[in-house]
Symmetry: C2
Subunit: 213 residues, 2 copies
DNA sequence: TCAAAAAAGTGGTCTGACCACTTTTTAACG
DNA sequence: CGTTAAAAAGTGGTCAGACCACTTTTTTGA
């Protein structure tokens, strides 16, 4: 069995061997990998094959290469999984409505999670938004939403949100209007008090306003 | 600006150009791409550079290569991506948890949307699940969840879900146990009746069961 | 007409070369 | 001796050519 799997894809074996090497040598994030020429010799393959494997891992953000410097194991937060996938998924999916809806799915979930979690909904950062709204009278819409996502602690959801939010462009990355002020305040206040439903309602009102901009 | 972004990563530009080429030539899934030598000439770069880009896309499962045959645009996303990423990324427990949570975010949203939409929650497909459960006593977990996502009509959410569901692998793609039967039935029934809250509650119970498998 | 053989096309791999850049070593100077 | 500048070595980036194995297409010949 597994004839097809094993006889083919030599460069995939190199990827496997690279991983094994990383484990064996206990290479930590940020540390240097052996040079391409050394890897080529140690693995008994040509340098170009090594490079094909390395470039694949680089596209995924699993390693970083510095011209003339070397190849380094990337830290987990730099993995470009979502970025790469979004490059292909979002590009095909022309429906802007879906992008917006999906973005809002993540935002609403964040509101739910924060509203239901004592520690999260009582964070001082929410008060800082209030202060900013009072003093300056306005606030960056994207900043609030991003803070929501960050607070939940779900880094994957945050990464997806970043990609989706990038498509909305300037419509999201702007200062709130006077009309939005009350909705945002209501949303934040409800969230702080743990009123999930009210927070979501205010959010939806806010978003329907944003939509018409 | 963007000095660092542009001066580096020449092979990443090739990846971009390949995408562009696929779009321009309107190459459909399963269809053939130009040969490496032709691409090399058309893009004005060496064949090895083209290969590095192609191998990256292959690792992502976006293209398929047949020795002596050619390079083809992949019909569906293959498991390569899952395997590679699980090797490097999903070793971290936090990441696994995030993947599961994010997947559930999309599933719960689907349940909400369907429960609140007359046309969706009264679809005959839900009854078919009931029948299947009655007759065979079991049902594929993944099938139900996929149907939920498909029904909502948000194709982007569906695509993201597909990717996330792939990580859970066999834990999701299996037949339901006897214990799960009641929860699934409750979830579906509540959904059909428009009882959003009850449906979600049953779903969460179900998922907590799945988690222990 | 059709099957076998030849040719062309294609991916897979390796080697060597050269460039640009970084790091290390060496040499020169004060 | 210490500092600094130059040289060397190390490293990734790219290209060209070669050869192999395999597939597809074309040609050949019975």
């Amino acid at each position: 069995m597994d004839k097809k799997t094993e006889q083919k894809k030599v460069f995939l074996e190199i990827v496997q061997q690279l991983r094994q090497l990383i484990k064996m040598e206990k290479i930590q994030a940020g540390e240097k990998l052996p040079s391409e020429r050394v890897l080529s010799e140690r693995l008994g393959v040509g340098r170009s094959s090594v490079r094909e494997a390395l470039r694949s891992l680089e596209l995924l953000g699993l390693i970083e290469t510095r011209h003339g410097g070397g190849t380094f194991l990337a830290s987990t937060h730099k993995h470009q999984l979502v970025e790469i996938l979004s490059m292909f998924i979002l590009e095909d999916e022309k429906s802007k409505k879906d992008v917006e809806l999906t973005r809002q799915i993540h935002e609403m979930e964040a509101i739910r999670v924060i509203s239901c979690t004592e520690i999260l909904r009582t964070l001082p950062v929410w008060d800082s938004f209030f202060v900013k709204l009072e003093i300056e009278g306005t606030i960056n819409c994207r900043d609030i939403l991003r803070e929501l996502l960050i607070t939940t602690g779900n880094r994957l959801s945050l990464k997806i949100w970043f990609q989706l939010a990038a498509y909305d462009g300037d419509r999201l990355n702007r200062n709130s209007t006077e009309d939005e002020k009350l909705m945002i305040q209501t949303m934040l206040k409800s969230m702080q008090l743990g009123y999930e439903k009210e927070a979501l309602k205010a959010y939806e009102q806010w978003m329907s306003t944003v939509q018409s901009i």
